[in-house]
């Protein structure tokens, strides 16, 4: 088996308050891996640590955050051992990221061509003219009509959907191996959303990109992703192939998430919600973080946090019931 493109081992990122008294475990002992060309979906509620995990991979965290433990192997190198300057050369060149707000992620004072061509000039030392030419090609590849005109326009002259495709063009400008998309479609309307997802998939195929797709939309995960990691309170509670997780979720939280998707066929007059609130990351319950909201919790769940059980070679879950359930299923 070839070694994965990216593998995170026991990665933790904590926010520490100025006095050092309050520690928020935004990302806690996360282990994940991703092969070249594959798509990994990361789902979870707001505040579950998805975005912090993405910024941890790029080592672009706010000043209060610290990566406290773990290893982060990318193409055989530990990203945590790189200097700031070496890390800068990874960003935009080998790992790129798309932000969620297309209206705010382009600088209003520079032309599209300048901003799309910028990584090429910085990472490959291209001249202004050749970067400009490449920018036109990139705009064409993200399906911007008449890119020769658009390239010298400013962001305010574009619609939201166009701007998000331009941000996508910025992402792929240096042909990275890994693209992280942080809820790239939340602010787009539905038809534009579908177009954009198709575009991302086409780009992925053309460029052999690995994709990390951060979202809270399980419908997108089903369409886009090979692997899925479900995050809750900073931890990955379940990780495995999408089809397996959708058919046979191991963790009660995953089941609850899947159960909360409204379906036309159900013909219900109410929506299913997960009772309760996610825990305060600065003062976690002693046992499993999901135990207070879990319909299946028993005494051990409230006293002792479950470790990450490996169910089979590609499935892992953090639940005391998971190994029992799995063997029961296997026996029946």
């Amino acid at each position: 088996m070839p070694s994965p493109l990216l593998s995170l081992e026991n990665l933790s990122t904590h926010y520490v308050s100025q006095q050092g008294t309050r520690v928020v475990r935004a990302v806690d002992e996360v282990t994940l891996s991703l092969n070249a060309g594959e798509t990994l979906g990361i789902v979870g509620e707001s505040g579950s640590g998805k975005s912090t995990l993405a910024l941890t991979i790029l080592r672009l965290l706010p000043a209060a955050a610290r990566i406290t433990s773990g290893r982060m192997m990318f193409e055989g190198e530990n990203l945590l051992e790189k200097s700031d300057e070496e890390m800068r050369q990874v960003r935009g060149k080998r790992i790129a990221m798309i932000l969620q707000d297309p209206m705010a992620s382009l600088n209003p004072l520079f032309t599209i061509g300048d901003q799309v061509g910028e990584p090429i000039r910085v990472h490959e030392g291209a001249s202004r003219a050749s970067a400009w030419k490449r920018a036109i090609g990139l705009l064409r590849s993200v399906r911007i009509a008449s890119p020769e005109t658009r390239v010298s326009q400013f962001p305010h002259e574009m619609s939201g959907g166009m701007r998000q495709r331009i941000v996508g063009a910025v992402g792929i400008s240096c042909e990275p191996r890994l693209l992280i998309a942080d809820e790239p479609t939340t602010s787009l309307d539905l038809t534009i959303q579908a177009q954009y997802l198709k575009l991302l998939r086409d780009l992925q195929r053309e460029h052999g990109l690995a994709l990390i797709f951060i979202t809270h939309n399980l419908g997108i995960v089903a369409k886009m992703c090979d692997q899925l990691a479900v995050m809750y309170a900073g931890r990955v509670v379940e990780h495995g192939p999408v089809s397996r997780i959708f058919n046979r979720p191991m963790h009660p939280y995953t089941r609850a998430l899947l159960g909360s998707i409204p379906r036309m066929a159900d013909n219900r007059d109410h929506l299913t919600a997960i009772e309760g609130q996610p825990p305060d990351l600065a003062s976690m319950p002693p046992g499993c973080a999901f135990a207070p909201r879990c319909p299946e919790a028993f005494d051990r769940c409230r006293a002792e946090a479950p470790p990450e059980f490996t169910i089979d070679h590609e499935t892992r879950a953090r639940c005391w019931r998971a190994p029992v359930d799995a063997s029961a299923k296997a026996a029946s």
Binding site: A104, S105, N107, H156
Partner: protein
């Protein structure tokens, strides 16, 4: 764009009209100029004569009409005290004020912008704290006091710099610093806060995600956005500096228009006060107009909104 400019010009003319009425009335509240022009014990007929000569015997609205009519003809009247046209006096003094303002502005930008950027990039660090103290002192110390302390040190104790008057470069240093410190503080605070706001934006995050060197993130993406409000303020301040240096010019006996205004108020020289204030007001209004237009040229978003 044309419509945008036309609307701005309209607002500017309205402001100037309101200013002319205000200064015309206010200057007349200060008292009777004739009592300062005649010798003690002058006869009532002589006083009445002078009043008629100066046109002060006419009703207010007629005086205002006369003032505005000659203003449109480009005439600001004659100084009661010097007996020469106000414009002549004004243009004698103006070069001194321009020189002082230009040097003070250069100082304020050279100090204010780099220290503001440094404070924002190293927020809560040493430079931020040092900058805060510098700005607090600049904004709160009265200019007459700063001027006097500078004179005390550099002229009286050290004997390095001349205490008053105009002439060489050395004469400029203390008045320019005294005038510029306040503005340096203002420019620094604005650069800092505007830089901080920009640094928190999504496009700065994307610039970092692209792997741009920090110098490019700060110097290109952040600085150009952060300087927009600073350019506005500096443009207005340049003209403000020419017109508000009354205290500095008086302390250092600098022969600019600030001191002309001071003399005009002391002698109740109505045409001088009206003239200096109207020209100053016109300059400030013009610069606001220019900055608005310049702003529209720099920032492509404003161009389209009109």
């Amino acid at each position: 764009m044309k419509q945008y400019i036309a609307r701005r010009v309209g607002y500017s003319l309205l402001s100037l009209f309101l200013l002319s009425v205000t200064i015309f009335l206010f200057v007349r509240v200060t008292g009777d100029p004739v009592s300062l022009l005649v010798e003690p014990g002058a006869s009532p007929e002589d006083i009445e004569n002078i009043r008629r000569q100066l046109g002060l015997d006419q009703p207010l609205w007629e005086q205002y009409w006369h003032f505005m009519a000659s203003l449109f003809a480009g005439d600001l009247g004659q100084s009661f005290y010097y007996r020469v046209p106000v414009l002549d006096l004004y243009f004698q003094r103006l070069p001194h004020s321009l020189l002082l303002a230009a040097v003070a502005m250069a100082l304020s930008l050279l100090i204010g912008i780099p220290s503001g950027i440094l404070a924002a990039v190293r927020v809560d660090g040493f430079w931020d704290s040092a900058g805060k103290i510098f700005a607090l002192l600049g904004l709160s110390l009265p200019q007459f006091w700063v001027g006097l302390v500078l004179i005390l040190f550099f002229s009286v104790y050290l004997g390095w710099l001349p205490s008053s008057g105009s002439g060489g470069v050395l004469h400029l240093l203390m008045p320019a610093f005294t005038l510029g410190w306040y503005f340096a503080a203002a420019h620094m605070r604005l650069t800092r806060s505007s830089m901080l706001e920009v640094l928190g934006s999504e496009y700065i995050k994307l610039a970092r995600l692209k792997g741009l060197p920090e110098a490019l993130v700060i110097g290109k993406h952040a600085l150009k956005n952060a300087l927009i409000p600073v350019i506005t303020l500096a443009g207005i301040n340049l003209v403000v500096m020419i017109n508000v240096a009354v205290v500095v010019e008086t302390v250092f006996a600098w022969p600019g228009i600030g001191r002309l205004l001071y003399e005009g108020i002391t002698f109740r020289d109505f045409p001088v006060v009206q003239g200096v204030v109207i020209i100053g007001g016109a300059m400030i209004v013009m610069v606001n107009l220019l900055v608005d237009i310049l702003y529209a040229l720099i920032d492509p978003r404003i161009r389209l909104e009109s």
